[in-house]
Symmetry: C2
Subunit: 711 residues, 2 copies
């Protein structure tokens, strides 16, 4: 009977499998409700001809594809010839002369969508100064229909606030993805350039629909091979494919490449031969990829080579590369994720200490790429102290979209609120309102070269991201890169409508699930400011007992500092004094138990187990309750999702349902293992009503995962 | 312009992408021509109800799905109620009583399809003794329509000639596939058992459509982890999914598991604790997977542990495992691919030497699995001398479907003729007609437990096999496992019709391309009996200069034995005398230059460069011409395929076209590098009209492929 149920279940899914397996992402273009179709179709009855440039061709094709799916095949007609024509206008073309459109405000990538009358006929203009803006406008226009908004009287102007909106793929040349949980790299280096997988076009479409305009194809833990002629030719084939979609390709640059593929004995950035190597390499790349974006570099970090190997500085290294790509219009992203294993200093302080002194010394075409927090993409981190601290430097944001520390692909964790929390943080660098978002969009310090990067969660899995809901994290990242002040609840609503459908009986509970999911993960993994408590190496599941190994700051015990007397990392003046890296008002608050938010409590403070939380609970009791609250939230998501079966296609419903069950079990595991471990220090009973862990501590410590993905 | 062409090209493909990307394999079920539809629909108007067993349920669902696609939705009706009912009958059910069907001849897995009259109404009966036969019959019935055959007067009886029709997946638990060129393992161990990818159902459907009834889930280079409780639970989830399709799961067994996961100090097969470990392990597995197939073992081969580590024999090892699974009905596949690095003997002789003496000593539930040739899946090998030499032993065939030595996924090489060549080889063991096929199907020696295994070419690539045409190799393997004497040209025709369409303007040239493709690969890689000339480690491209390393018989020079005086491996009495391992008449012919086929010439003989071939050419000239002939054939395939654009959907046409261009370049590379190398020995000019290699020998030797797949 069990077999039969399984078989029948899978069988029933089969017919739907081709239609709704997640491959289409938020670009499904399924027919709108018949009641709405007529009104849309009237406004989108025809598309005016466009110039056959690559980008306008794909823009028109996308619009046609979208409208065909949503409301029915559009016709072709010139604007003014009939009602309901959509006019795509790139630059001040004759067709839009006299309409008084504010093209000047749109910059190079912005667009406007406006309902106008042309020759007495109702017309929708999607206009931009350059072709790419038109494509962005087309995606926006389609999203209006996808999300059920009226297109009768449009007057939309949208301009990206960040110049470089980037995906970083930690993809190796053998297709293994470091910290990837959605299959192999989508970049099929082996068959490139002879064969370009058509999926590359869909990848470009999806990114363009969000305004993402750059992609780093390979891992920051780089191989020099990526800069050899065969791989440049492969990258060029991808660049050719992505170009119509406004996406530039970038490569990571292994700092020791001059030795590995250049035949030199050094990679010293002040050595003339080394500088000549990089100049020549840049020239070689730009010959094949004229609009190559530039290099992303991880140097002197976690074993990667860098300028410090030669007694030089990050400035020396970054500027050398910047000088190589600069004449071609290229950019160098230099990562601030740097910490030294010879350095006994609190790891959270090292990035600031290394980079802050160099403010103003980097070339104009260098972006210092800073992770959102000072440790490493933990479920929750206070904002990185470098934000606001380098006003004379281009500082770019690095978020992690792939859920290395958040349960891999099988935990439903919507990262929007996490990204938003960082972006909305007030650095106070120039007084109140100096948010991280304003650092990133350049407005705080008047910087022009602005950037936001997301470490991609994209892989060869049919659903791209490993899970249906992880698509939302790619989506929200893209939307925030366009506008770092956008609200992530509204973004979740858009995504849900486009991805699952606009029925409010579905949208409301799904968005509600999503919005609380990150806080739940923090609760069941690392409540109250705890951090870096995961399993060793693979970062899967709880490992609060991790200790030993090559360096203390790769262990859990280093960060929790649990003992019989208390728990937490003192980063106030009595401890590492990391709080002093923030603007005084910010640092003072973090250091003050009366001011610091309890969400960051143990990040900044070491406190006794009986410390009283605002709730009146002791620290121990509050911790235990928070673990349990996280588990309960996942329970709730399971219940909610089960009730949504009538509104979601069977295959995707089943997949999400399976994953939520996995998440439920693993949330329990996180709770139980963490409590079992910390109780050995706290030596206190669990608060009333909180069940004991399901297994002994030894059981949890003995679990091993030799084949975990993404290592 | 180049960009525009590319973009437009890819764009035009996009709409077709969802429909025809190869995912559907040969089970596309696209509508037949309207002119044919009426006749089919009349015969397939309704499906009679079936008992709701798992297998009959999927059989009925498959029939409905197929008919819906091919000719339109069938109705439901009892046989006799109307014309055109299809009646699925498992066992001697009342519905078929009195029809006089020869069920007795069908065995456990055979089926019959017969047009009969029931209650005066034209009815098609698909009958079998067990449910699985009905499912096989359904696939056969659908294939008749797919290939354009009449279904008006059917009288088909089909019974598999081989009992265990097996896929061997060389898939690691981290999803890397050894010698895989089609992405990752389709077995998503990480998410199992919590989530079963719906693709697992399509995998089962595809295999069942060929009659494949067993699959080994993991690599012969095994990890003991696959036998731990978590992985048994994962395998069980797959077994539950595959069961309705008649497919049993098997696991590889690492011989040292008793030490690695059993806490023992030895894996000696005569040690009682070791025997108890395996007994208990088998009991544990069967408790979770009641129809578990058994173990596949690679022991004492290429570094794998085995009984010889304890001074025991293959018989000791295999029989111990056989005793563990035997009470549950399980089987042990023990591989004969064994050669010792301490053994100076010709590697081609070692398998025979190791196993022949044990004939008759293995348990009844042991199958000795023998590769088709004595070295290792080379483009051409004479049949393995063990075939015919162990009449008292169950000998199973191991073919390699994945193209480790045949250009990976981007060379079009249809393996049907290669498999057929081996199966049709006459061992002469019991006189003329003692073909390998008759050894494998058990008829030569009256053996009941018969088996054919294929090393799978299946991976996570959307098209399953890495290329559209590699699907044909999976297909032909399955068809030959059902009937080792089936003709592979007819199979290619069936596959082409089902995969691309039945238009003879397409089918004839495609089948022609396919049928010559393997000989072409032999020509451009290893003509005239040369073997093992590929690149080191990855086995990609030519490496005739490979020498040194840990063992001579892993080098190319060991096998070619080229010198100024000649080339080839003397396996006659003046050499290794491997010919003496064959039946006298066979061995004598191989050893005799007047008798041996030139295709095997240098496999068995070392000959001077001026040796005269039958064509009158010298050996050197003939070699060079054959390399060139192989390249020319690929040229021809490119031309043929380009002309087929009107008959093939754009996306698949483009993919094949891209790959054929890659193959063309690599065939040239093989030719040029091989000629450049061997000319250093032959010191003779190229025959007139044969162009010099494009590059120097040093160029070819310097090529490196650090990120080649499948290693």
């Amino acid at each position: 009977m069990r077999f039969l149920a399984l078989v029948l279940g899978l069988l029933l899914l089969a017919p739907a499998a081709r239609a709704e397996d997640g491959y289409d992402l938020w670009l499904r273009y399924k027919p709108v409700a018949e009641s709405a179709r007529v009104a849309y179709a009237a406004r989108a009855a025809a598309i005016a001809p466009v110039a056959e440039t690559p980008t306008l061709t794909v823009a028109r094709a996308e619009l046609e594809r979208g409208l065909t799916g949503l409301v029915g095949q559009p016709a072709s007609a010139a604007a003014g010839a009939r009602d309901g024509v959509i006019l795509l206008a790139s630059g001040a073309t004759p067709a839009i002369t006299g309409l008084g459109l504010p093209l000047k405000t749109l910059g190079e990538e912005g667009y406007l969508i406006r309902t106008v009358t042309v020759g007495g006929k109702a017309t929708t203009v999607i206009a931009a100064n350059r072709d790419i803006g038109v494509l962005y406008g087309v995606f926006r226009y389609l999203s209006l229909i996808q999300t059920g908004q009226s297109v009768d009287k449009l007057d939309i102007v949208s301009v990206p606030k960040v110049k470089l909106r980037m995906l970083n793929h930690w993809d190796n040349l053998d297709r293994h993805v470091e910290r990837g949980y959605s299959g192999q790299s989508i970049f099929d280096w082996w068959r490139l350039p002879g064969h370009v997988d058509p999926r590359m076009v869909d990848y470009a479409r999806a990114n363009a629909s969000l305004g993402i305009n750059g992609t780093v194809l390979n891992n920051v833990n780089a191989k020099a091979d990526s800069l050899t002629a065969p791989f440049i030719a492969k990258a060029a084939a991808l660049a050719d494919t992505f170009r119509p979609y406004g996406i530039k390709v970038y490569l990571t640059a292994r700092f020791s490449s001059p030795m590995e593929i250049g035949g030199l004995k050094t990679a010293d950035p002040l050595d003339p031969a080394v500088r000549a190597f990089w100049k020549a390499k840049a020239d070689e790349i730009y010959k094949t990829i004229p609009d190559f974006g530039g290099f992303l570099v991880k140097a002197n970090s976690e074993g990667q080579p860098g300028p410090q190997d030669y007694g030089r500085t990050h400035v020396d290294g970054a500027n050398m590369l910047a000088d190589a790509v600069g004449p071609h219009g290229g950019v160098v992203f230099w990562r601030a994720f740097v910490y030294s294993h010879e350095q006994p200093e609190d790891r959270a302080k090292q990035g600031y200490n290394e980079f802050k002194p160099f403010d103003g010394q980097f070339r104009d075409n260098v972006v210092i790429q800073v992770k959102n927090g000072a440790i490493d993409f933990q479920p929750r981190e206070p904002f990185h102290p470098l934000f606001g601290a380098m006003p004379k430097t281009n500082l770019g944001m690095e978020f992690q979209i792939t859920k290395e520390y958040l349960g891999f692909s099988t935990h439903l964790v919507y990262l929007g609120p996490m990204f938003e929390e960082t972006l909305a943080s007030d650095t106070m660098a120039k007084g109140k309102g100096s948010t991280v978002a304003k650092v990133i969009d350049g407005s705080l310090d008047g910087r022009k070269l602005t950037a936001m990067a997301g470490v991609a969660n994209i892989g060869s899995d049919r659903n791209w991201s490993g899970s249906q809901f992880d698509q939302a994290n790619w989506y929200v990242f893209g939307r925030l890169a366009w506008d770092p002040e956008a609200g992530t609840q509204a973004i979740a609503q858009d995504w849900t409508r486009m991805t699952f459908g606009a029925d409010p009986r579905l949208v409301t509970p799904v968005v509600s699930m999503m919005m609380g999911s990150r806080e739940a993960a923090v609760d069941y993994m690392t409540p109250l400011g705890l951090h870096h408590q995961m399993g060793e190496g693979h970062h899967y599941g709880p490992g609060p007992w991790v200790s030993g190994g090559p360096r203390a700051d790769w262990t859990s015990v280093y960060y929790a500092k649990a003992s019989e007397t208390g728990i937490g990392f003192d980063r106030t003046a009595t401890g590492s004094n990391a709080t002093a890296q923030y603007a005084p008002a910010v640092g003072a608050c973090y250091a003050d138990l009366k001011c610091v938010d309890e969400k960051d409590l143990l990040w900044f403070h070491h406190l006794p187990w009986d410390y009283r939380l605002k709730s009146g609970d002791t620290l121990w009791d509050g911790m235990v309750k928070r673990y349990g609250r996280g588990v309960s939230y996942v329970d709730g998501m399971n219940r909610t999702w089960a009730g949504l079966a009538p509104y979601v296609d069977a295959r995707r419903h089943r997949e999400v349902s399976d994953y939520l069950k996995i998440q439920r079990a693993e949330a329990q595991w996180w709770r139980d293992a963490s409590i079992a471990w910390f109780q050995t220090f706290a030596k206190r009973p669990l608060p009333a009503g909180e069940p004991a862990p399901n297994h002994t501590l030894e059981y949890y410590k003995a679990l091993g995962f030799p084949f975990a993905p993404g290592i």
